[in-house]
Symmetry: C2
Subunit: 373 residues, 2 copies
């Protein structure tokens, strides 16, 4: 684009836009359009298994996995059938990564931070506290160099990663008292896993790991003082509003976790090219579908929680967020000092983030502040 000449650009005039001649010159996309000669055996069929970290048919997430399998089967004319298993039906939810990696099953769906123990850098392709949101993460992974690094990381585990959904900005959690300062977090026993939990610990809180099914009872009995979960729709289904009064936002710990599809790479590479592309494309359709469903549902259930259940909506004070941001820096510094690949990914992540924030200020941020209302 450096040698771009405006005059060339303006030679050709069309109604909607301009610049055919130059654009053709700077974008040789005729080449892109050439497609390898089809080498497809339409008689060969595949029966695959997909394990997930979600309960069977779990709203949005499990439903999305079922739809993914349906789309793939339909697009392949029935040549690639995928049986979707809920977490625990075939393997425990958090063994999804291992099961796909060792080839016990062909596919899995979950979030990168679940495998932080095996691949710490996977967290940057999921969610880090005070990190990028759904739209920014898409831009980084798809158009900003993120995918190549993600593939490099997962290739070590014989896995092919794909973006396959996003929850959007999560909520900050349920509390039985107001959080007016960082002091209010001290001694607080909160169910908050992963990096968010480490940040809370630095703030003097006590991060507890509680399985999803036990959170409600623990909160009711005072075994824990607070919990985060996902967003208004799923939080409503869990009934937290019956045992906690204050519902905080924003979800500083997860501003838009990437939900990932992982495919056993050896098996993926041996698939006919058309089926590979079908999987890639279906995953991107799920990516949009899940976020759209979350947005449409969270919207309705937030209003339900407030208007029908009397939930008190609260915003984390700026000062608390400022402190948590500082603790986040400490937590991330520890990770990158211990894991060289994390350092490499974090550098790319931060570079893209600092850069896109500049554009987001002018575009989306201004939309929400000046156009939304």
């Amino acid at each position: 684009m450096k040698n771009f000449q405006r005059r060339d650009f303006l030679k050709k005039t069309t109604v909607a836009a301009a610049g055919a001649s130059l654009m053709a010159a700077c974008q040789p996309s005729k080449e892109k359009q050439s497609v390898e000669a089809p080498n497809v055996n339409f008689n060969k069929t595949f029966q695959w298994k997909m394990v997930t970290t979600w309960p069977p048919n779990f709203p949005v997430l499990g439903e999305g996995c079922n739809l993914l399998a349906k789309w793939i089967e339909e697009m392949s004319g029935g040549r690639l059938k995928i049986h979707v298993y809920g977490g625990g039906e075939l393997v425990p939810p958090l063994e999804t990564f291992e099961a796909v990696s060792n080839g016990a099953v062909e596919m899995g769906h979950g979030v990168g931070y679940y495998w932080a123990g095996k691949a710490p850098a996977a967290q940057f392709f999921a969610a880090v506290p005070f990190g990028m949101n759904a739209q920014q993460l898409n831009a980084w992974i798809i158009s900003g160099g993120g995918l190549a690094m993600w593939e490099e990381l997962y290739a070590k585990f014989d896995l092919q990663p794909m973006v396959c959904g996003n929850t959007g900005v999560q909520m900050g959690g349920w509390f039985n008292k107001e959080i007016n300062s960082v002091e209010d977090l001290q001694g607080l026993k909160m169910r908050i896993p992963g990096l968010g939990g480490k940040v809370l610990s630095k703030a003097g809180g006590s991060a507890v790991t509680v399985a999803g099914g036990e959170i409600y009872t623990n909160l009711e009995r005072g075994v824990i003082d607070a919990t985060e979960w996902i967003g208004p729709y799923h939080d409503y289904l869990m009934g937290f509003y019956r045992v906690a009064k204050y519902y905080y936002y924003p979800g500083w710990h997860e501003a838009g976790p990437v939900l990932e599809l992982i495919v056993n790479k050896s098996k993926f590479d041996r698939l006919p090219k058309d089926l590979q592309e079908i999987i890639r494309t279906a995953s991107m359709r799920s990516n949009v579908w899940m976020l759209s469903e979350f947005d449409a549902k969270n919207n309705l259930y937030l209003q339900k929680l407030i208007n029908e259940e009397g939930v008190q909506l609260r915003k984390y004070p700026e000062e608390v967020l400022k402190q948590l941001r500082l603790y986040t820096k400490e937590v991330l510094d520890e990770i990158i000092s211990e894991d060289p690949f994390s350092a490499k990914v974090y550098e790319s992540y931060q570079k893209f983030r600092n850069s896109i924030n500049y554009w987001s200020e002018v575009s989306e941020k201004t939309f929400y502040n000046q156009i939304l209302n």
Copy 2:
């Protein structure tokens, strides 16, 4: 979901989440997973034509159409080949709608407001001033009932519409003077098409239609005083920074126009089911790809414009936006009073918008204000 019982929900415990039994009960998605028996003739091939409103290989938009064709060809194992034509190569850009509608070609790519003359309500599925952004429009169309109305509207023209891209929030335009009040818009000759132009006219400005290729020269010679185009990447390529000093944001007239794929419905309906689903899915992949490319590129080119070309970035004053919003209401009221289908679509659009704004305040808006920095 009304009879949801927390106790049932908590019966089954898994590590990542909870609620298999209930979720299975409230979401009968086994049925969803059943796939019609494949009825696919893998020997039949199709050669289709796709016309677009963009110059051939136009950055992001034309490139995205080329990629769409490539994905479809790859996924179909070469059974559906699509030749993509730039605007004017086969039919003039703005005749895309008509050419696909009458079956001269099978597919087209453009934006709904281009066909406002034939179907005024199409504008609500594209962009209206002070309307929804990309993420909100996806949620409305995909998960909020928008698609059914869009399909109903386009069926009258024998067209099947699909979401197939988004530019994200656009920029507000290039000016040779500062805009400090609505008075500064009076008498201003600005290249701004569609509804944005009508709003400007109400503010006392003069909306001019100028073909893309003539904007630069008209601006240089003072035939027009100002222009809007797309965003930093495309605006940079047009060279506007050489003849206008002030670059305004936000693009209040287009907060995230939906780019659409239109397929001749009769021909689409006669396609084998697998190819139909391949087109639908590829369109959604383009949807994500285009927005990601716009975000990644706009980000870099905005910095280039400011740091290398000395462009003065300016934000529209709140008071000006407030006035333009009032004029927008007048413009929209005129449209819905003249066209009953527009009234119906606008009702759904506004209802969803008012509702999702509630959630966006808590999620994305707070992300941009409290987490971004």
